[in-house]
């Protein structure tokens, strides 16, 4: 039999899951993930998860804003100049609305695509979907999965550890 993907413990509410995640992190597990039908406050932090998304969005926004202003300046002040009554060619106040709009657009696109991309989505198939109970993760159950690739993983000891967290059930996730 090949290596399984990991061990999946099922809980009935988010507070049990949060406690379980904290205990597992304290026990030294790192390659693990928790699953809940809504964002549980403090759960990613309990699992030691961090995200660089805000920085990426800031960079996206800056690129959008600078790019927009450059485009307007190049188009109206360099490439195709229209002199209307001798008004300034580089009339910056008139360039602000589009600079603002494209800043927001670029930052928004970054936020959307990177939030999915960094999560590895779209990904229609995943070993976890092989566990029949797992479809309740999107409905009313809470899961903690410790993966086989964690250095501390040992099939029997990890199962015993999860048992100690008094879950509703424990399932082995086939690869």
């Amino acid at each position: 039999m090949s290596q399984p993907y990991g061990l999946l413990a099922e809980f009935s509410n988010h507070e049990d899951l949060l406690r379980a995640a904290e205990t597992a992190y304290a026990a030294g597990f790192r390659k693990m993930d928790a699953f809940a039908p809504f964002p549980v406050e403090g759960l990613p932090e309990a699992l030691g998860k961090k995200t660089r998304l805000p920085l990426l969005v800031l960079i996206g926004g800056i690129i959008g804003g600078v790019g927009a202003y450059y485009m307007e300046w190049y188009a109206n002040a360099v490439s195709y100049v229209i002199n209307i009554g001798g008004r300034p060619i580089h009339s910056w106040p008139a360039f602000i609305p589009i600079t603002f709009e494209l800043t927001v657009l670029a930052a928004g696109l970054t936020a959307f695509f990177f939030s999915l991309g960094l999560s590895g989505l779209p990904r229609p198939h995943h070993p976890l979907f092989n566990v029949p109970e797992f479809e309740r993760a999107s409905q009313d159950r809470f899961f903690l999965c410790i993966e086989t690739r964690d250095p501390n993983f040992n099939r029997d000891q990890t199962r015993a550890f999860l048992q100690g967290l008094s879950p509703l059930s424990i399932a082995e996730v086939p690869e």
């Binding site: 964002p39 609305p97 709009e101 930052a107 999915l116 999107s138």
Partner: protein
Amino acid sequence: MNTPDQSPLTSHESPSYSPLGYPTNLLAPGQTYETVNKTIAEIPLSHAPMSWRFGFFVAFLLLMMFLVAITWLFAKGVGIWGVNIPVAWGFAIVNFVWWVGIAHAGTFISAILLLLFQHWRTAINRFTEAMTLFAVACAGLMPLLHLGRPWVFYWLFPYPDTMGVWPQFRSPLVWDVFAVGTYFTISLLFWYLGLVPDLATVRDRARKLWQKKVYGFFALGWRNSASHWQRHQVAYLLLAGLATPLVLSVHSVVSFDFSVALVPGWHSTIFPPYFVAGAIYSGFEMSLNIVIPVRKIYHLEHLITERYLNNMANIMLATGMIVAYGYFIEAFMAWYSGDIFERYMMMNRAFGPYGWVFWTLMLFNVLVPQALWSARIRRNTVALFIVALFINAGMWIERFVIVITSLNRDFTPSAWHMFSPTRWDWMTLFGSVGLFLTLQFLFIRLVPMISISETRELVAEREKATIK
């Protein structure tokens, strides 16, 4: 049961009304994860009720009428409308401003109320975001139809063309392209990002294979993982933060289309704030017109509680007062400026040939909404629906008054000319309503119309409060 630290925000049990008479329930008592999942996620998975079929049929007929109107327009040109010089901006621009305005409530509810921790957005944000998308789609069509040569609309975009010409970036009309385009894109991303976890719920509850496949495709393989949720929440919050200035900017830019011009009745600095308030006003009125029947037909009273309707009515009252102030200041400034053209514009608006339209506007948008001071009316869904309908029409009339009465008599009396709409104008207006309603009906039928994951959060919060 009632612990002293229970705030009205987290309390979902009795009392149902605060001491001032405001409904306090965000969620009817007795709701669990399963009842919430079932109520919302089963709607797209089961057959549509008769009332849905009937409504969709009517909306679809209107949409077909729109198709006829557009086809004839493309065949003959804008001459089939009542537009002429000096009123070159007819119904198309009136409709455009009306639809963009309606769109604003969605973003207001989903972005600004999210940032302000207003939990009463939960059951209505998905609806109103969808409403935003469809209203912006209707709005975006209008200037395109009005172009005269709509097939060269892409000249508005900055692309390196063989003629060596660039768009004039100092023009509010070009700002509009970017403002409305950005608004649509950001609203779409915001809406879809919130939808992904709910599509996963529908996928996992689907019984038929094709349903599992279709919803699974759009759910992108969402696993409800803590790290997915973390990025999802950060992205959602950032999009809300980005959309917030957008709400204020889009209608401000639309108002620049008018206020940057020198036409009396348009050239006014009050326009941006007054337009934004009007936009939120009209958006909430349209949301009520949609939410009230849907709530009744699909029996969602325990999720969309009285508190939602009451709060929406309150916002309408507040923004309605700002709009009324805008009307007053317009008239006052026309007099105070001492400018004869401005003064004449105001006299013409109120007592000229279109005077009756102006007074209808005052009745619909200023007088009728005062009924919302009464808590009895705010709690009576039929009365609230009717008031909202009046404001809906009123907001369209407002844009008619701004566009038409300002243009039809400007500086030179020899150029004065009355505008009268043709049947093609009316068909375009009601046809666009058909497009909007058709999309709205399809949305209600095909995707979870209330955010399931956010409602589950409300359930979890209440459980926590009861354990305490």
